[in-house]
């Protein structure tokens, strides 16, 4: 087993085990910190495939931004004094079989289909992504920035109006 293969299995194990933590942990703070492991593992898998820019973007945006946001809202919406912050899973008996069935179907498709793979050589992609964004993908790029701006203003409006009506 070469180091690269070993590295892949370590990354995959970190991703899958912490995703199971997100799904099954009893404390929602543990779920949030398990999500950290999942996102970091996926970032590692991106880097493994040579998607260097994407891996770094995942680290900065997901772990630095989205995860901190999630942690904030966990701590803002639960009574921190409680030892066991509630994160009830209901209907695990009913909910698990469909999820497992879908998972098994996806795995079966992934393993049985003869994918037309090419011999891929990992190459740095930052320059290619930048060129794509400034040439043929300029419109989607600008639209994405517009969506971000709208989301920023919208989130502010939603959170602020609620605060005003409550505190008044």
């Amino acid at each position: 087993m070469t180091p690269s293969v070993f590295f892949f299995y370590v990354l995959a194990a970190v991703t899958v085990v912490s995703a199971a933590g997100v799904a099954l942990a009893r404390n929602i703070l543990y779920s949030a910190f398990a999500l950290l492991g999942t996102l970091a593992g996926v970032a590692g898998l991106y880097l493994y495939m040579g998607a260097d820019f994407l891996g770094i973007a995942q680290l900065i945006i997901y772990i630095g931004g989205v995860l901190v946001l999630i942690l904030f809202s966990v701590l803002l919406t639960n009574r921190i004094g409680e030892v066991r912050i509630s994160n009830v899973s209901t209907g695990l008996v009913v909910g698990a079989p469909p999820a497992i069935a879908v998972m098994a179907l996806c795995i079966r498709v992934a393993l049985r289909t003869p994918w037309p793979t090419t011999e891929a050589v990992p190459a740095p992609m930052t320059a290619r992504i930048g060129e794509a964004f400034l040439h043929e993908l300029l419109l989607p790029f600008e639209l994405a920035s517009l969506v971000l701006l709208m989301a920023l203003v919208g989130a502010m409006v939603i959170a602020r109006r609620a605060a005003k009506t409550k505190r008044a």
């Binding site: 799904a23 966990v74 992934a110 393993l111 993908l137």
Partner: protein, 106 residues
């Protein structure tokens, strides 16, 4: 089907399928709204991982990575909006349990 030692496309697809199934399980069984959001993040990550794996191993191109970047951007926007809504719901209902927020049903 490739063997266990030569890492290829199916390995990434299996990891992504497991991520997707666990995300589905989280969305289906959690009652805390923030935990449901975490399940959505798992599903989005599974989809993005599939995009990157296919574009790397099948097309050997950069398109999948760009699509995954857009997924990350939209997930960030979605998380910001969803968490603002969760905060508003918490201020209104004093709970973010999805079972308690059922005014529309009555």
């Amino acid at each position: 089907m490739s063997d266990l030692v030569h890492i290829g496309l199916p390995h990434f697809l299996v990891v992504s399928a497991i991520l997707f199934g666990l995300g589905l399980l989280t969305v289906a069984t959690r009652r805390n709204a923030v935990a449901i959001l975490m399940g959505v993040e798992l599903i989005l990550n599974a989809a993005a991982l599939n995009f990157v794996a296919f574009s790397h191993y099948v097309a050997a191109a950069v398109g999948g990575a760009i699509f995954a970047l857009f997924i990350i951007v939209l997930a960030a926007a979605e998380a910001a909006i969803a968490l603002a809504i969760v905060l508003a719901i918490f201020r209104h209902f004093h709970s973010i349990d999805a079972q308690d927020v059922s005014t529309l049903r009555e």
